[in-house]
């Protein structure tokens, strides 16, 4: 469903990640963009240029926050310093929702700065959901949890990733940021049917969708966000829209970043699928 409590009853369209190489172009040319996604941690600073640029962007555009360091799946409690700074940023951007990943990445106070997969068990799901609820209560903004791409699976897992994701979001009563590129990458690395994943999650909880490109190595796919969106990922996107309706859609392009117009043009290809869905459903 387009407008739901997980995206704060908004109907955002196609967005682009706000990236440093594009700052000058965006501030000078003021392109028409429905919304920008920012990486929260890049702006959780106390002063300086990052906040100056952010404030200039906020004057003209809608912004949604996407984080990489809450680590809902880590065994240790939520980091209070991180949460306070995140909340301060939420107030600044007035983001209608906030997203971060279904992963762990810290242990004993040390940070990997990566998005590490978890064993898919009920105990882990309960623990993770509890931390999402705590974060949501503190931040006072809906949270959408994103599925990560992964390169390892655990013997301990006794459910599929989509069963695990579904269990977490239902227990936490939170939304999902469904990353269809991550689904595809993981499906190739772990030999499952990506359509089964897309069909197996609670679609009414989709607050946002990510699309992206990846890199194919001889023995695995790597989630590199440095290519256009390939056809299999567009296919998953189309199926997600068919099942869940239109949703705020964001193209991630984070490395070997081309011009703003090229990135934006790639993102706007999503319109093809959004218009088809609208035509079918009318």
């Amino acid at each position: 469903m387009p407008a739901n409590k997980f995206n704060n009853f908004t109907e955002y369209g196609i967005g682009v990640g706000l990236r440093v190489p594009h700052y000058q172009h965006i501030l000078a040319k003021k392109p028409v963009v429905d919304w920008f996604e920012i990486i929260s941690e890049n702006f959780m600073v106390d002063g300086g240029r990052p906040l100056k640029v952010l404030d200039q962007i906020l004057e003209q555009y809608r912004v949604v926050q996407h984080g990489v360091a809450i680590y809902f799946g880590s065994a240790e409690p939520l980091n209070r310093d991180h949460l306070k700074k995140l909340k301060r940023l939420v107030k600044r951007t007035r983001t209608p929702w906030l997203s971060d990943h279904l992963c762990w990445g810290s242990v004993d106070g040390r940070y990997t700065h990566d998005l590490l997969p978890m064993p898919y068990t009920m105990a882990v799901a309960k623990h993770t959901a509890e931390k999402i609820k705590q974060a949501q209560d503190f931040l006072e903004v809906p949270i959408c949890v994103e599925n990560v791409s992964s390169y390892a699976e655990f013997h301990q897992s006794n459910m599929t990733e989509w069963e695990f994701l579904s269990e977490v979001v239902e227990r936490a009563d939170c939304g999902m940021l469904l990353d269809v590129n991550n689904i595809y990458v993981s499906s190739q690395n772990h030999s499952f049917d990506p359509l089964e994943y897309v069909r197996g999650v609670p679609h009414h909880r989709i607050g946002q969708i990510h699309i992206a490109g990846h890199t194919r190595y001889p023995t695995y796919l790597l989630d590199t966000h440095d290519h256009p969106v390939p056809d299999p990922v567009w296919d998953l996107y189309a199926e997600t829209i068919r099942l869940g309706g239109r949703a705020a859609t964001l193209l991630e392009w984070d490395d070997s970043i081309p011009s703003f117009d090229e990135v934006h043009g790639e993102a706007l290809k999503a319109n093809r699928f959004l218009h088809e869905h609208t035509a079918v459903s009318q």
Partner: protein, 287 residues
Amino acid sequence: MMGAAVFRPLANEDEDMQATWTDGRAMTEVVAEFIKPNDRLTSFERLQIYNRTYWYRVFDCLYDDFPGLRSVLGEKRFHALTRAYLAKHPSTSWTLRNLGSRLVQFIAEEPNWTAPRTKIAIDIARFEWAQILAFDEARHEPLHGDDLLGSHPDGLKLGLQPYLVLLELDYAVDNYFMAVRDQDDGLRSEASNTPDHAPRRAAVKRIPLPKKHKLWLAVHRCDNDLYFKHLKPEAFLLLTALRSGHTVSAALEAALQDADPGEDWAAQVKDWFENFAALGWFCAPSA
């Protein structure tokens, strides 16, 4: 277990995950206990992806944050230093911005990684860390001249902006840093002219090491651009004393106690206060 494995330094010149675990067992055996293999990769190879990603990410971060130090030591010694540093001081912050926060201390505590250039390495690393602080530390509402009217120096305390970093250095690392940055920019722009294949790096001209030259610097930002300002030692002492919480009178006394009595300090001090206030360096003292 997985976390410990990810943080372990790589082997074979930072290409592969280490072959044995801390208890001497084969890593292939240890990893197979908790990670499944698939039809293309062993359990070891799957975990190795994460081990490599962690180390490449943190190496890249320090590589970008300390270009001057990298130039002083050379690529190989810089890599060995950062490897040793990160093994002892893994990231303990949710932001990579703080990854190098203990590097200066590490260089001082373990000079073997930088000898015989340890003193230069410490100075350049301090200078580069100062830039990271100046870039995004807080800016409080600056005090202006009018705010100080009627205040008596005996009772007046002034705070300094958090983004203002004061450095007393033994080497001319500022000029060295600028030369390194100019060279790096040149190499980057060359690379951008060859988009269709791997960038061809021009032969890197060796930049002469910084000369021994006592410096007092203020690293700060103005309109969100970074600057470094040379200070007279007396001005440096004044600012340092103000930052320590001394009154203006006490700070002036500390700054000028060894000053050349032949100079017109009254005029210079007046200039300093006007200049530093115009730069927005003064703020209300911390609570």
